[in-house]
Structure formats: structure tokens, C-alpha cells
């Protein structure tokens, strides 16, 4: 009866549990939402179903037949197609080649550009994408286009089981997607819709499953649920305790530590003016790929700033590399976007990861004093809520949450007062998130000026004093205090002009 029957899935990565006796049953023509915090197991389950990850135990049945696990080809043959959160596109091939990668048309052994682009154009048109040139290199497309391509690629396979993992992170226009998902449903497909945007789920899905810590903890009905209840089930505690409150109000005379005027970074940041005062947490919101990264990295000296002024504690400064950023006035430190690639030193221990900024201080005649190093790292780790037993471990083996804590500990050691935090809670389990929030609050209370980008709007609502919304490289709205609401942010994030001008008006 049920198209998809999953039972008893277990998957361990070293010490952490990704899936714990997870099971789910979905029928044909059903759009099932799967919600859960990062680290709840949603992505792992998706990977198991797609054949990329082999579970330690468990079974998947599609239309009654057992699916061979760990073999992507088998999943695809069974009709399982997935639009991945980490897009599975190949950057140095064209749109058309990516679209048809599994079945490239050949004429005498050669994939003629015309043939493949023609076929691709047809497919794109069929799925209502009129503005994507099939000949373009995927690597040069904006993120929203890439996401749309990934979705078309999945939809065009006419899947029996359609899996969408966070499909709208960078998508400004969700109607297009919903239309096609519903059409697929009408054709008998069963859809798994993984998202943390509860509003969208309410619009699209008929049923929902909640995951936490690798387990299935319950079902809910998207048309009739309480926001708070769902979130409680997801994070295992009441939402009212989710965000630590502000300790004390920002003094009126708090100095502006960071100020930008008309900042431009290539074509990605086109004139952003903002400021952050001592003790303030300023949030940056917006769809992914709207220039947030370039803004943060430009301020940190990791991307070249092409125009505008940056003032650090009142002094106009040119920041040409992260080293200079750390030395500029009270210091600017960046908590980077891609933890694995830019944040941690995976093959080295936590102590080594954390102590980087203090190496000079800790050395005598060029030799590092290991006792004091360990002590310093322990203290910093403690401040970042990192359990002591992880200090000797290779950071690459830690969970996402602990990895991030090591990064935060290191950032603390830099002594920088201006903190740029780029989506610091991405891919982190709920309890670690709380600890990150607490670290954030403590830093601000100690006089740091924090610029904070997050893809989870509730975080912005719960932690920030002010929020700037970015769209296409420009700050299109700014909200303060009570004005900061999920709706306001979401509206302006998709470039809704009216709300933008209204907000601008208020700001002026």
C-alpha cells in the first residue's frame, strides 16, 4: 500500500548517532514534510535513500521490493531522485550537461553541444524555466539559478519518490516549485519535503514527521499545528528557553566599533551602509547568495573590497587581509561559513586549533610551551562550553557543534572586539546551538560588537538588537527591536519592494 517503507535505519559516525532506529512510511500521492534541527538525522536519511550512505542496519522497501542500499544507481533505478541541499552540480560543465549528466546524448560517441543544449532547453521550457541559458557554465551561475537547476534536474526524472532537501534556501520564487511538486504528487509520486521553514510546509505538505537526535519522535499535521509545539518537539525543550535574553540594555553612549559607508565588493555587495556599536548584536538576514558572504569576508579582509569606507572604532581603515583585520583597532575576527574548509584544522587537536592566536605569546625562543598552551586552550574551551575531554581529540572527528565551539574558542583568544559570525549554527545539534547563543550573548555583554548572519530567522528574532535584510547585494530593509519579526524579514528577503520602502521610510 505504501510506496515507501523505511524501517530500523541505524547509522553511526564514530561516536555520534546519525540515525537511531529511524523508520517512515509514505504513500503514493503524499507530500510528507520532514522537520528537525540540524543534526536530527534528516540529511542522513536522505543520503541513505539516495544510496550515497550505507546504513549500519535497517531496510528500505519501495513498492514492496527491498532496495539495495549504498548504491546510488540502485536508488535511481527504483525511482528515487533527490535535490540535495549541498547541490550536486558539476561546476565546470554547462547547465545542459549537468541536467543530462546521467544520460548524455551521443552522436557517434561525441556529445554534441547542440544536441545536448537543445534537449536541455526543451526540458527547461517544459518545467517553466525560461531564463536559464543551457550553454552557461554552472560554476558561474548565481546560487538561485543553481538551486533551480538542481530542482529541474530532479523533477525531470519523473521520480516515483521525490526527495527535496531544503529546496528553497536561495529560491526567491517558491510558487514555481510548489506548482511542480503538486503536479508530481498528482501523478502519483510520493514526496519527502525536508525544510525548516514551517510556513512553507503549511502551504505545501499534507503530513509531517518530526526527527530529533536520529529518531522519529512524532507526526504532525501541517494544516493544523502549533508552531511552538513543533519546535518544542524538534529541539526537545520549550522554545521560550531557546534564546538567552539580553543581559543589560546597550548604554546610550556605547561607541560605534564598526561602520561601513557604501561598501562594495565587486558586483556582489553594492553599497552597504551599516554600523555596529559596542555590545550590540546586529543581524544580517536574506536568502542565501545575496552578498552576505562577500560582505562579511570583505569586512574581515578575506575578500577584496572595491569601494566604500570601513571605519574601525572611528578610524577609516583599509583591510587587505585577515591578519590586518585582527590588528585593526579593537580587532575584527571572522567565524567563517564553511567550517570544514575554512574554520577548523581537521587533522590537528582541539588544543592546537584553539591556541593559534596566542602562539607568539606562548613561545619562548621559538619553542611553544605546551603546559601553558594546554591551560589556555582549556580556559578558552570552557568559555565556549566545550567539554574538556575533547581537547586532545582531532577536531575533524568532533561533531559539528564541538567543531564550531573550537572555532569560537579560538576567536575569543584573538581578543578581537568586532565579531563577524557567518551562520555559526549551521549543521549543529540543538544543545550545541544553545551554547553558541550563550557564547554570543556573553561576548556582547563583554563589549563585543557582533555582526551575525543566520539562515534561521528565529535566531535573528531571538538574539538581535537590529536586523538588516540583504537582497541582491544591497541592504533593502532594517528593523529594530520590536520591528524584528519573522514575517517582516521573510517579506523583505524576497525583495518585496513595498515592505522595503516602508521599512526604509521608518529608518529615515
Amino acid at each position: 500500500m505504501n510506496v515507501l517503507e523505511v524501517s530500523g535505519l541505524e547509522k553511526y559516525y564514530g561516536d555520534s548517532v546519525a540515525l537511531d532506529n529511524a523508520g517512515i512510511s509514505v504513500g503514493a500521492g503524499e507530500i510528507r514534510a520532514i522537520v528537525g534541527e540540524n543534526g536530527a538525522g534528516k540529511s542522513t536519511m536522505v543520503k541513505v535513500l539516495s544510496g550515497i550512505v550505507t546504513p549500519d542496519s535497517g531496510e528500505v522497501k519501495i513498492d514492496g521490493s527491498v532496495l539495495e542500499l549504498g548504491v546510488p544507481k540502485a536508488s535511481r533505478s527504483a525511482g528515487v531522485f533527490t535535490a540535495f541541499q549541498e547541490l550536486s552540480l558539476i561546476p565546470n560543465l554547462s547547465v545542459a550537461e549537468n541536467l543530462l549528466i546521467a544520460e548524455l546524448p551521443t552522436r557517434a560517441g561525441v556529445v554534441s553541444r547542440r544536441a545536448v543544449q537543445g534537449k536541455a532547453a526543451k526540458i527547461l521550457r517544459e518545467w517553466g524555466v525560461r531564463d536559464l541559458d543551457p550553454g552557461l557554465m554552472v560554476g558561474q551561475l548565481p546560487l538561485s539559478a543553481k538551486q533551480r537547476l538542481e530542482l529541474v534536474r530532479t523533477l525531470s526524472q519523473n521520480p516515483k519518490i521525490l526527495i527535496l532537501d531544503e529546496p528553497t534556501a536561495a529560491l526567491p520564487d517558491t510558487d514555481w516549485l510548489f506548482r511542480h511538486v503538486r503536479a508530481a504528487r498528482d501523478n502519483g509520486a510520493c514526496v519527502l519535503y525536508i525544510s525548516h521553514k514551517l510556513a512553507e510546509i503549511g502551504q505545501l505538505c499534507e503530513s509531517g514527521t518530526i526527527m530529533r537526535n536520529g529518531k522519529i519522535v512524532g507526526d504532525f499535521s501541517p494544516t493544523n499545528f502549533s508552531h511552538d509545539e513543533i519546535i518544542s518537539a524538534m529541539i526537545g525543550r520549550s522554545i521560550s528557553m531557546a534564546f538567552p535574553p539580553r543581559v543589560a540594555p546597550i548604554p546610550a553612549d556605547a561607541p560605534v566599533l564598526l561602520k561601513t559607508t557604501d561598501l562594495t565588493v565587486g558586483n556582489r555587495v553594492r553599497g552597504v551602509t551599516l554600523q555596529v556599536r559596542e555590545g550590540e548584536i546586529v543581524g544580517v538576514a536574506g536568502l542565501e547568495g545575496q552578498g552576505q558572504r562577500e560582505l562579511f569576508y570583505g569586512l574581515a579582509g578575506a575578500s577584496p573590497v572595491t569601494g566604500g569606507i570601513i571605519e574601525v572604532a572611528g578610524t577609516a581603515t583599509k583591510i587587505s587581509n585577515p591578519r590586518k583585520a585582527l590588528k585593526a583597532g579593537p580587532g575584527i575576527a571572522l567565524v567563517p561559513e564553511e567550517r570544514k574548509r575554512e574554520g577548523i584544522f581537521a587533522d590537528l587537536t582541539s588544543v592546537t586549533n584553539i591556541s593559534v592566536p596566542a602562539l607568539k605569546k606562548l613561545s619562548v625562543a621559538g619553542i611553544i610551551r605546551r603546559g601553558p598552551e594546554r591551560k589556555l586552550a582549556m580556559e578558552a574551551g570552557r568559555d565556549a562550553h566545550m567539554p574538556e575531554e575533547y581537547l586532545g581529540r582531532d577536531v575533524g572527528r568532533l561533531s559539528g557543534g564541538n567543531q564550531q565551539k573550537s572555532v569560537l574558542a579560538r576567536t575569543n583568544l584573538t581578543g578581537a572586539k568586532i565579531l563577524l559570525m557567518f551562520d555559526p549554527t549551521r549543521g549543529i545539534d540543538p544543545s550545541a546551538k544553545l551554547e553558541v547563543y550563550s557564547t554570543l550573548r556573553t561576548s556582547a555583554a563583554n563589549g563585543a560588537a557582533v555582526l551575525f548572519y543566520s539562515t534561521e530567522i528565529p535566531e535573528l528574532v531571538g538574539l538581535c538588537d537590529r536586523v538588516i535584510v540583504m537582497y541582491q547585494g544591497v541592504a533593502v530593509a532594517e528593523f529594530e527591536g520590536e520591528q524584528i519579526t519573522e514575517d517582516a524579514i521573510m517579506q523583505t528577503a524576497v525583495g518585496n519592494a513595498s515592505s522595503a520602502t516602508a521599512a526604509q521610510g521608518e529608518k529615515a
Binding site: 550536486s88 561546476p91 565546470n92 531564463d131 558561474q140 565587486g266 577584496p304
Partner: protein, 340 residues
């Protein structure tokens, strides 16, 4: 980029284009100096230059393929040495066509062994191919401790026949044009850029990787045949220089060692350039020590120019990607056209 300057800029920033230009400059210098010094420029001069270049061209292309795929292969020199001594010592009177096929098969087999260790054994390619290189070079010495033997005359004469060398080069260029648009070719580029993505799409990544190692090995085998024809006899140590020249040719040809991009045509001109350098130096009356220095400096120049320009390219392209306005139906354009 429709302006004339834009076009020129495009050619210069493209690795292959740069390699061709560099080579043309060298050739012009060489040939004009040759004639002004009364040493005569005729078809035979060019012919012997090309015949000499063939083995390096073919071997370097094999290396290029492996690099585009994101791997490493140091074993070319070893394969060539073994092929050379085998031909010279035992296959001297065999049917040349059979010799070619057999030696390419041998090379392919060695490539397969390399591939199995790297892909299935999960060992770093540089280490494995270094080991196989050492083993092969040793085997070559075992087979033919002293330079001797003879290469089938038909092979020797065949390669030196008029237009054969040019013909082979043309065939190579055409073969590359076809291969890079074939499924295997596209997959090769894809694996070099992102093997995960290909794996997610259900494609047999490991099989493709093995295939490329085998193709590269077969190319080394062919290079060994060509080298034997050029050398006319067997010498176990004669192939030693290939270890580094194949990589130099690849780099001069504009292929970066990062994987995901590159061009065999670029490598072809890189190899031609590499072999033109000694000729230019000779004509300049440079010999002995200055030759080594000049050779090294010229290679450095070529590589540094390449690095400098890709540095520029990378820095610009990422940040210049504009935003699109899809809801208004405007076509999404990229900053610069692709360069596969």
C-alpha cells in the same frame, strides 16, 4: 568580448592560447635565426624536430589526462623505458603494427595496475606511481643492461616518412577534440572538479578513473614506440628525462594541477615549446651551462605567466558575477564565457 582587444585578451588568458603564442614566438626566433646564420631552413629540419617531439607530446598528453582528472602519474618514463628496451631487444623484427598494438596494451596494463592501487587501494597516486616508476626503470635495466638492440626498420622509417609526423599531430588534435566532448571526456573533467557530484548522480566514478589511468598508460606505450623509432635502438636510461619533461610540457601548455580543466592541445604545444627551447638556445650560440640556466628560466617564465594570469582571472570572475532578476524573465548571463 567582441572587441578586438577583448578577443586578444581572451586568447592570452586562456592556457592553450598562451602556449600556442609562446611556441610561435620561439619558432619564429629559431627559424629566422637559423636562416640568417646560413644554417638553412628546410622541411627536413622541421621534420626531424617534429619526429623528436612526438614521444614527448604523446606521453605528456597521457599525463595531462590524469591531471585533469585530479590525479597524478609519475610512471610515464618507466613505461617508455620498458617499451623501448622490449622493442629493441626482442621485437626488432616483428610486424611493426603488432608492435604498436602490443606495446600500447602493455602500457595500458601498467596504467591499470597504477589505477587499481590508487582507486581501489586508496593510496596516494604520487606515491604509487613513484614506486611503479622505480620498478619499471629497474625492469628496463634488467631487460637491457647495456644500450643495444635494434628497432624494426619499418617503424623507424615509417615515422620519418614525410608528413607522417605532421599527420600524427593532426590526428592527435582531432582525437582530443572528439574525446573531450565524449562522455568519458566530460566525466573526466567532472571528476577533476567534483567526484562527489558525479557519484551522487549514480555514475560509476571509479570505473571512469580506472579508464583514464589505462588510457594514459596506453599513451605512454605509444610514446615508447615513437621514442624507439626516434632512437633506433634500445637504452634503458634514455627515457629518464620524461619524468619531468612531461609535467613541464603540461604546465607550459596551460593545464593547472588543480584538476577539472586543461587541454591536450595546450600540452602538445607545451611539448613543442619545450623541445624548441634547446634549438633556440643553440642558434643563439648558447651551450653548456647557459643552456641549462636558460632552459630553466624559460620554463619558469612560461609557468609564472600562466600562474599570474589565472590568478587574475580567478580573482575577478567570482566577485563580478552579477545578480539576476529571474522573475522579470531576463536571461541569466555569466560574466565570462566558459572555457572547457
Amino acid at each position: 568580448m567582441n572587441t578586438k582587444f577583448g578577443r586578444i585578451r581572451q586568447i592570452v588568458t586562456d592556457g592553450t592560447g598562451r602556449a600556442v603564442i609562446f611556441w610561435l614566438i620561439l619558432m619564429t626566433i629559431w627559424l629566422s635565426l637559423q636562416s640568417t646564420q646560413g644554417m638553412g631552413v628546410d622541411a627536413r629540419l622541421i621534420q626531424s624536430y617534429l619526429v623528436l617531439a612526438l614521444p614527448l607530446i604523446v606521453a605528456s598528453i597521457g599525463v595531462t589526462l590524469v591531471i585533469i582528472m585530479g590525479q597524478f602519474d609519475l610512471s610515464a618514463a618507466g613505461v617508455i623505458a620498458v617499451v623501448n628496451v622490449t622493442i629493441a631487444s626482442t621485437l626488432g623484427s616483428w610486424n611493426p603494427l603488432l608492435v604498436v598494438v602490443l606495446m600500447m596494451a602493455l602500457g595500458g596494463f601498467i596504467g591499470l595496475v597504477n589505477g587499481l592501487f590508487v582507486i581501489l587501494g586508496k593510496l596516494p597516486a604520487i606515491a604509487v606511481t613513484l614506486a611503479t616508476l622505480i620498478i619499471l626503470q629497474g625492469l628496463a635495466i634488467v631487460i637491457l643492461p647495456q644500450p643495444s638492440g635494434k628497432v624494426p626498420p619499418f617503424l623507424v622509417d615509417g615515422v620519418r616518412a614525410p608528413f607522417v609526423a605532421v599527420g600524427i599531430i593532426v590526428v592527435i588534435i582531432i582525437a582530443w577534440m572528439l574525446f573531450k566532448r565524449s562522455r568519458s571526456g566530460l566525466y573526466m573533467f567532472a571528476i577533476g572538479a567534483d567526484p562527489e557530484a558525479l557519484h551522487l548522480s549514480g555514475l560509476p566514478v571509479k570505473k571512469i578513473q580506472l579508464k583514464i589511468f589505462v588510457i594514459a598508460g596506453a599513451l605512454y606505450g605509444l610514446a615508447g614506440v615513437l621514442m624507439s623509432a626516434s632512437l633506433t635502438s634500445g637504452d634503458a636510461n634514455a627515457a629518464d628525462s620524461f619524468l619531468l619533461t612531461t609535467f613541464a610540457a603540461t604546465a607550459i601548455g596551460g593545464t593547472a594541477f588543480v584538476g577539472g580543466r586543461g587541454s591536450a592541445v595546450g600540452t602538445l604545444f607545451g611539448a613543442l615549446t619545450l623541445l624548441a627551447i634547446p634549438k633556440v638556445l643553440f642558434v643563439f650560440g648558447v651551450s653548456d651551462w647557459t643552456q641549462k640556466v636558460a632552459f630553466g628560466l624559460l620554463v619558469l617564465l612560461a609557468v609564472v605567466a600562466g600562474a599570474f594570469s589565472s590568478l587574475r582571472k580567478n580573482r575577478e570572475s567570482m566577485l563580478l558575477a552579477p545578480y539576476s532578476t529571474p522573475t522579470e524573465g531576463e536571461p541569466i548571463t555569466a560574466t565570462k564565457g566558459g572555457n572547457a
